[in-house]
Symmetry: C2
Subunit: 379 residues, 2 copies
């Protein structure tokens, strides 16, 4: 008999992009809409969040966008770059939320240069960060890795094997800093799953819901499904599904939900009739799942027989790895089996009455737009 | 010292899509514009060209679109489907051009079901075609293979290994019909190049210019570079370049030039502000190279040190394999080193003054739109 209601320890999304104004005012309220209680906020803003004062200011700004009734908590991250010092790591680890007293900055995110959105300031080599990583290890900050190397003709590296080619760096970092908690973000390959399993208890791995669904065929010619790392093969998808179904405690939800204005996702909308611009522009990489996140996760896990692992995937595994408090008392998210349609788009209020062109720049199309989801959040 | 002028035996394009009215009236004159003298026309029209009378009618219609001064000759093909009989193969082989007396139908094209544009009527198994292939072998018609199998979760087949997974069929067909001339169309992988090399002299292979340039990274999020088979890795591209540079006589130009209206290449143009339609539509697969074909080939081959193989690639290898007459007397194509800019788009005359939306449906964006080509056709 299929379940009709599910109670979950309050969900956490350990990898999410909420952007900056005005986009952030549309996106931040979607965290609660999608069922998330704790959101781990990525620092690849423009400019990136590279020090403690920027991070606190950014978190204050984002928290002001939360609905008053919201139970959502935000955890900030810093962007790894040569300006980050061990002293700044100490300062980051000491920041407490003025109201809750909880840790406010959870980790440091590393982007290899040029491989994804706003990663031009990303790292080229990890060797120069030994002292920073050693201090993070002492202070208990997490290192979050975008695990891809740049494409390289000599080494035959493309978007297809960029992740597998990165895994040697994960192993090296883990060997050098065995007590440093490291998260390989948005794993997409069987090789990555295997690598994380082989590491010790200080290495975790986030898996997005869209990578539990998509393969390469789904983004071939479909910009709405194009993201980085790109979705790979059936066997890779099976490895991601299998590790979630196994309930392995170091694999958990990080949605990598990334809102891109429709105009940047679909260049011909931005170009407004200029075919040359449209043809030469690339489509932005990213899939937007925040407003439907937990119902989507329930739907996907049920589709491959892992609904009993939903709480582990969306809450308890990450809470344990990140040392986050479990739900206070009886607080739970409750899902009921009830069909809802994924909205076709979300538009900033201030742009709703504007013309097509202006609206395209303030409009975000979610993953599975227009599809039915069989699960709905009821509290 | 770099060459400043090149004389070529008249070029042939052994794989080209010129579509139907009204698109064909824009496209057919581009064959001459791109430097082609003989064009081998694909039959995946709507409906497909599946018998001799359809093919002759189609060729007549296309020839009426050739400029009066043009030296372009067209060779037709039939679409392989269960309606094709050995008797129809005999009829096809007997068709002569009313003016030149030359063979008018060169071969039969096989599309695996559902893998590319207008392939819904494609084949599922070759076994039922034994008698047709035997008759083609006797009559000297060529079998042109779109060498991909459909994606398959059980077998872990995606767009990435669809070609490599097809090669067993090429070997089987060649073993069964050793005198049947077979062309593996638009090879994209090192595996395909190796497979063709291993076959005997009756197996040839077309290679598109865009696959001599693109890799998977180039179509990740860039609909203008998305085609089937998809471009693969650096090593695959190197294998294609190497075999052209080696001058291997059974590898030759088949552009697979495929004009798609801008609106179908860029769904947001077609959807005209409807983001849900735009997001859910796929982009049409195909790269359009006809109007710049020979200058593009010269540019690419020069870029990887194979300009001395240009004539073999664009003319003599295919003429020999297909038993086409070599240039009559002193007729040559002459290229001069002179920069020209690739037009940003080509638009049907009747649609030039229409609004953005109507124009998008009658407008084709060529490969390398807006880029400079260092070679120009001067006669």
């Amino acid at each position: 008999m299929a379940a009709t209601e599910i109670q979950l320890d309050l969900p956490v999304d350990m990898h999410v992009h909420v952007r900056q104004p005005p986009m952030s005012s549309l996106i931040v309220p979607h965290l609660a809409l999608g069922g998330i209680q704790t959101a781990y906020i990525m620092p690849n803003t423009i400019p990136p969040i590279s020090n403690v004062s920027q991070c606190v200011e950014y978190l204050d700004q984002l928290e002001s966008l939360l609905p008053p009734s919201s139970d959502v908590e935000l955890i900030g991250t810093l962007y790894l770059s040569p300006t980050l010092t061990p002293a700044e790591v100490q300062r980051a680890a000491a920041v407490r939320h003025p109201k809750t007293g909880r840790l406010r900055i959870g980790g440091v995110k590393s982007y290899p240069r040029g491989v994804t959105t706003n990663s031009d300031g990303g790292i080229e080599s990890y060797d120069v960060y030994d002292e920073v990583f050693a201090e993070m290890e002492r202070q208990g900050l997490v290192l979050n890795l975008h695990g891809e190397v740049p494409s390289d003709e000599e080494k035959n590296i493309t978007v297809l094997n960029a992740e597998a080619s990165f895994l040697q760096h994960l192993h090296k970092l883990h060997a050098k800093f065995p007590k440093l908690r490291i998260v390989l973000e948005h794993a997409t390959t069987a090789a990555a799953v295997e690598a994380v399993k082989q590491c010790g208890d200080t290495v975790g791995c986030s898996i997005t819901p869209h990578h539990l669904q998509l393969i390469v065929d789904d983004w071939a010619g479909k910009p709405v499904n194009f993201c980085k790392p790109v979705a790979k093969t059936w066997d890779d998808r099976k490895a991601l599904r299998d590790v979630i179904r196994s309930g392995h405690p170091r694999f958990f939800l990080g949605s990598d939900s990334a809102p891109h204005p429709f105009a940047s996702k679909m260049p011909s909308a931005a170009s407004h009739g200029d075919v040359q611009t449209a043809a030469s522009c690339g489509c932005a990489a990213g899939v937007y799942t925040s407003p439907i996140l937990i119902p989507l996760c329930a739907t996907l896990l049920e589709s491959f027989g892992a609904l009993d692992r939903l709480e582990a995937y969306v809450s308890t595994n990450a809470r344990s790895f990140y040392r986050l408090p479990v739900s206070q008392g009886s607080a739970k998210r409750i899902l009921r089996r009830e069909q809802t349609t994924v909205p076709s788009s979300f538009t900033l209020d201030a742009h709703k009455d504007k013309d097509d062109w202006a609206r395209d720049k303030a409009q975000v199309v979610p993953f599975w737009a227009g599809k039915e989801l069989p699960w709905k959040i009821i509290s």
